[in-house]
Assembly symmetry: C2
Homo-oligomer: 514 residues x 2
Amino acid sequence: MDVLSCFIVIALFLTKAWTSEASSSKNIILMLMDDMGWGDLGAYGNPSKETPNLDQLASSGALLPNFYSANPLCSPSRAALLTGRLPIRNGFYTTNAHARNAYTPQNIDGGISPNEILFPELLKQAGYSTKIIGKWHLGQQPQFHPLRRGFDEWFGAPNCHFGPYNNKNAPNIPVYKDEVMAGRYYEDFEINLGESNLTQLYIQEALEFIDKSVEVSKPFFLYWTPDATHDPLYASRPFLGASERGLYGDAVRELDYGIGQIINKLKSLGIDNNTFVMFSSDNGAATYAKENGGSNGPFLCGKETTFEGGVREPAIAWWPGIIKPGQVLHQLGSLMDWFSTALDIAGIPQPNDRIIDGISLLPVLRDGKTIPRPIFYYRGNELMAVRYGQYKAHYWTWSNSIEEFKKGTDFCPGEEVVGVTTHNQTNYTGMPVLFHLGKDPGEKYQIRNTTREYTDTMDIIGPIVAEHHKKMIFGEPVLNYCDDSVMNWSPPGCEHFKCYQPPPSNKKLCNWPH
Amino acid sequence: MDVLSCFIVIALFLTKAWTSEASSSKNIILMLMDDMGWGDLGAYGNPSKETPNLDQLASSGALLPNFYSANPLCSPSRAALLTGRLPIRNGFYTTNAHARNAYTPQNIDGGISPNEILFPELLKQAGYSTKIIGKWHLGQQPQFHPLRRGFDEWFGAPNCHFGPYNNKNAPNIPVYKDEVMAGRYYEDFEINLGESNLTQLYIQEALEFIDKSVEVSKPFFLYWTPDATHDPLYASRPFLGASERGLYGDAVRELDYGIGQIINKLKSLGIDNNTFVMFSSDNGAATYAKENGGSNGPFLCGKETTFEGGVREPAIAWWPGIIKPGQVLHQLGSLMDWFSTALDIAGIPQPNDRIIDGISLLPVLRDGKTIPRPIFYYRGNELMAVRYGQYKAHYWTWSNSIEEFKKGTDFCPGEEVVGVTTHNQTNYTGMPVLFHLGKDPGEKYQIRNTTREYTDTMDIIGPIVAEHHKKMIFGEPVLNYCDDSVMNWSPPGCEHFKCYQPPPSNKKLCNWPH
């Protein structure tokens, strides 16, 4: 038994006893899009209205307009999702500079900590078939791979599909089929001027996995996380030009089609009443996406920022017979809730040896309950803002540095809210900038700090924040160091393709400009 | 026979013969909201999702996400709606200054021209019962009143519900019941710190009118145009605090409730299959509304501007049995189309002695056809922009003057698109600023004028604009002169309340700062 397994056994021992058979037949599918914005779905008001399958999913399930990622950047968001814990706890952040976003480029030295519990590990132990299809993003070195962290199967890549690289300064990113690479992006898996059949592969893998799981009569957990809406955008040939909003829209249409295929598969197998499906995105639409039709709806700025455009996510929950159709649920939700919700559905108790930031959404989705809870907005090692009820208090504001802005990087193009979308990190901890997101979802009209509304609200939020800081145990940051020698030079299985010699190790602090 | 009646008879004579009995039983209800934004409905993505009746109307009818008012300000928008013609043709504009919005405050000297044909006049002649409930806004002097222009009945006011006035410098605005005033705002019809039962009165009037029309077996036309979402906002007591987005949201909830009541009335009378219902708004949400929860969704700026936020309107068409449920129709539509659509439904041919800018939407709504057509965006006497297909070309840009902006008037708070939301009137007629509204509904990313896309598009739009200018016959502007003596000092029926002596006439050019 390796250290990790020991750890899990101990963690489970610390929780109260549970039986896997009680709910062994409830399947779970979590669909996580990449950089898709809140405003990209018809159900969320996109003017193009090009997501019929997602809109149908919403009208036959529940729409959650107040749903958040734990971070405005992919890797920390995904680490938080799988651990149920804020990146500041699970280590997916950097202390190289103040309040900087960090992620897992292929030269990152770190990855998801062995001390963290990922809910697929618990599902697998409870008898679930588990599969991840798409982007992992929690570390590309073998010790961090999903098959070491609760997944039986994997089809996808450890890093973003950036490239092509020249295999000299950097190797092309591998696509894995379980333990071994099945080829590399731009070589064996083409992405050519926005055309790629990757989404089709991801759809096919999903349908086959569902079929296979039903055949062996095992409950399954599918983490379906395609990346066609992440730079560089792509769609397969039949979807190119299908949208009225360009390549980004084409990618969205193909993903929507895929979601329709997956839902139809559940129905045709007669397991729709037995399968919990939830859809969301890892962070808000980025500027490159917004320039190409991506939308954060009425929300301010986008990816990389802790304004609503960076972290408010589209979210749909669907479970015929359990979740009443056509609901709009205003519960403040988080991707971290997928941890607790999945365990709740599977009848597995939550680890009680650590703080879990997520909550089970089952009482909300099934019984219509509302659970008061704050939303914490982090950027790197700093708590930037807190939402409670309809109010959001910014303790720090920052879009990006003036140097980056002058170089042309703009996270808030066409938007400028004085004193809010600041280009210097502005400390408002003495007197937070307060917005009412019900009246003002776009964070444009500050509530004056001389009003009764301001003091009454801060009298509630202040103690929540104080308590949060008091109980915080910072995780060891895993995104501080980069080293070109840890890139995907020679992934397992490369011998069937091409292996490259890594350069000598040169571990140094990563540069995180945002 | 008065001049107006003569004119109508002649106009009808010029058109081909028609019979009223052919379609005499098709009722028409047009619901026009006041300053409500595209993004205010759940179906259009408002995060609060507080419009269940409108959302239901959309899902059981057709949603039109590309629907426009003819002007970013109420009076010209309403004049265009009822005449089917651009304000520049029907006279609802000013030449006092270049590209300035004008409307009908109570000291306006002008009103809707007797030379214009309003479609309710034609409906009435064809045997329809006609009623307007709510704001008229086409002139407060008796000669301009709705009962002179095709309406059998009226409950509502000629002007906005601004006030209270002191009845010395200005009288309070009268509320009419048909020919005579039934009282005044703030005196007999209370609007008190955001509380008023006016919307309830407007709902009640609508239900009674429908009942009565059915009793007498006459087809009816109802123009339902409440104003609770126009400054000063109001809602009745049961709706105060009902919304998560403040008083504006309360007003929206009450209007949504009213719409539900009207639809239920049609169903309970069994005339839903025989009644065409269309919903929209006169212009985009204004800054005061946006500060209070109003939303133009992803669109730029708002009321007063020719950016999408000023003129893109929510639009729903509903007619069970005729309009297939659940459709999203991307037809470029206009409030001016209500003219031609109403006539088409009633089987009345369109006047052919003048240019009508509207088109009948019946082939679109009933048969799913798409009709290519441009959208012209005017501000006062200037053609500011043109949309054709997905492209919008700005020939002039302007938000407001730097002087007004410095005084605190901001039509684009938190939004600033360089060279677009300009504070001087900027002439781009030589090289229009071009956007692709499919990819970029927020008008933030100009298509460079060095690209093939730009030249190809302008090769199409240029001739459309040239043709438009060539054929333009400017109407005599009716919004140039103001005179305090024409205010509502002594409306018909004031003797039952209080009549005031008007000051001596002092006709002068109105000042239109925007």
